[in-house]
Each structure stands twice: as C-alpha cells, then as structure tokens.
Symmetry: C2
Subunit: 209 residues, 2 copies
C-alpha cells in the first residue's frame, strides 16, 4: 500500500564481507574460521554466519570439515594449475568485447587506478594492494558486458586464494603485477587484442592476482 514499503531487514552480504576479509589476508591458508569470532567480528548472529560460510563452501572459497569447522582450504598445485587454465580461457575470451567497448573515459579511470596501485606498491598494506588490484580488473572486465563471465572470473580468483603463491609473496611479484597493469593499459589504448591476450595470460600464469 505505502509506496515506501517496510524497510524490513535487508540482508547483509555477509558472505561477501568474509570473502573480502580472506582476500585481503585477514585469514591465512589453513586457518580456522571460528564461528564465534565471526559473530563478534562482523556483529552478526550465529545463524547468519553459518549461512555465509555455507555459501562460501558452495563457491569453493573455503572448505568445511565436519565437526571441525570451516577454513581457508589449502589447494594443491594441480588444482591451482586447473584454475589458472580455466581463468586463462575465460579471461582471454573477454578480450575482444573489452577492446571493442573501451572508451576514453574508462581509459582515464583505469589509468588513475593503475597509478594508485603503483603508489601503493610502496607503503601500502596487503589489503590496499588487493583492493586496488581488484578495482582495476573489475573495471576492465566489466567492459566485456558479460556479467556471467565477470562472475566466473571473480569466483575463480577467490578459489585460488588458498594458494600461498597467490598472495604476492615477493616484492618482485608485486612490481611485476604493477608493470602488467600499465602494459595492459597500453594495449587497451592501442586496441591491440593480441597483445592484451598475451598480457592477461602471462599475468595469470606468472603472478596470479
């Protein structure tokens, strides 16, 4: 009746917040995600925490061990290889649409983000790197105009989180990622699909994020 509609309790994207926490390094591989801690940390009910964790299990971002709990699963090298293979397939498949859709405005934003990342390489926290990096790739893949593929890409990224290799162990890896961003930007400006494909492939296979 009223156009305002009752506000009701809008469901908080708890699963997303927990995923973000894992992404930014709040939980290390193999670490248990204790329900009680999460309740407190995210100020949520046990019920909601469990639902969120179950969701992440379905997405394979974490694993569940009966009567032990939930934890960031450690993934073996074979699985990591398979994930990367899949990512290469999907992410490179978006290149054509991205190159076709890119415009000056977006290029500007991407450059701004890439610069921000460069700045964060020195002095920023792991959370900063992760966030800015996500921003860059998000904006880029969003250009593809295919939400399904976007979603697949992010899911696969979160799944490889359980790999130590993935977390920018070395400073070199971080710098390499930084260089890759700028190189991708160049390729985009030149509308060079082939080059962008190469870069993305290398970016995934060499670094990860």
């Amino acid at each position: 009746m009223t156009s305002v509609m009752r506000k009701r309790k809008q469901k908080r994207p708890l699963a997303g917040e927990i995923a973000e926490a894992i992404r930014t390094g709040a939980y290390r591989t193999g670490e248990w995600l204790r329900q009680i801690d999460l309740e407190e940390k995210f100020q949520a009910t046990r019920f909601d925490v469990r639902a969120a964790l179950d969701k992440l299990v379905v997405l394979k971002a974490i694993e569940h061990v009966p009567n032990r709990g939930y934890r960031v699963a450690e993934i073996d090298s074979a699985t990591l290889r398979h994930i990367r293979e899949a990512r290469v397939a999907i992410e490179t498949a978006t290149v054509a649409s991205i190159v076709a859709a890119v415009d000056a405005s977006t290029l500007g934003k991407l450059r701004e983000i890439a610069e921000r990342f460069s700045g964060a390489v020195q002095g920023g926290t792991r959370a900063d790197w992760s966030r800015i990096n996500s921003e860059f790739h998000h904006l880029m893949y969003h250009l593809s105009g295919n939400p399904i593929m976007e979603e697949l890409i992010w899911n696969l990224r979160d799944r490889s989180r359980g790999s130590d290799v993935t977390v920018w162990i070395s400073h070199e890896a971080l710098q390499r990622s930084d260089r890759d961003h700028h190189a991708m930007l160049e390729a985009l400006e030149a509308r060079d699909s082939v080059r962008l494909t190469e870069l993305i492939t290398g970016h995934i296979l060499r670094n990860d994020p």
Copy 2:
C-alpha cells in the same frame, strides 16, 4: 577405536537430486518448488531441503523470492546469450586436452552412449534424453583432465535450464543434437581439434544441451 567407525548420517547430495529433477523436466520454468512437497518427494527433513535449495540458489540454478519461496528462474535472452558465450569459451578451451587424451576404449564407450541416445530419440522420455546426453558430454569433458572446467561447464548448463529454448522443444532440435554427437565422435576419432571446436560451438549456440 573401532575400525568400523560409526556410520553417522552420510549427507545425501539432495541438491544434486533436485538439480537432476529440474534437469529432467520435473519442474518447469517459473514453477514454485514448495518445501513441503520436496520434503515428501525426497523423503528429507525440511532443514535439509532448505539447505539444498539455498545451495542451488548460490549456484544460480534456481532463484529465491523472499516470503514466496524458490523457483526455477526464468532467464532472459541476454543472460542466456552470456551464458552461451561463457560456455563456448570454456568448452572449446578443453578441446586440445580432450583430443590429446582420447583413446580407443573411451571412443568405444562414447559410441555406445551416442547410439543409446539415437535410440532414445524415438520413444524415450525427456528424462532419458537428458540423462544420456549428460552421460555423453560428461565422459567427453572428463577427458580434459581439468575438474575445475568440468564443474564450470555443468554449473553453466544447469543455469540455462530456466530457458525454454533449452529443453529440446522441437523434435528437430533433438535430432540435431543426435547428429552433433555422432559428428563429434568422428572428429574425435580423427583427432581433429578444429572440427571438434566448431561442432561444440555450434552445438551450444544452436541447441543448448
């Protein structure tokens, strides 16, 4: 202590069973999946039913409407196109590994399944078609040796289930699928990657299953 270990309650893959039911046409697009019915039909507790439904929601196989329930979501043509695009990217990316891995024994099994499908085209039920068709593609994609990609492929298939186009409306579509299977078989025998890629692409874009 005892080596036998308590049998405990082994969790039934309820979500999978429900997904199978949807796949084989037990529920049509837009139809509500009433919890009480599912409890009875699958002889499960309400709790388990809800968990299974939530899982399918996460996988986007069904949708959830607050206070209304769960139903097979009707997907719009744009989304269907995006899903198909993603499927083409992933499924064709497996071709190289498949061709490299295929052996006489597997070819034999594939042929047997393809024949079975041909037989079912006349006289079989929709459930039969669906099951045999799945068997064929399952075995083929399994050859890729990449479980991650296999999983992605099946998830995407289940997600496009909400499209009417997907359900072999016409007899022609069914026959076309049948011909495609045999053609794929030939391409596999000839180790012809290019041809197989073409066939898979056409198979996805024209039919769907």
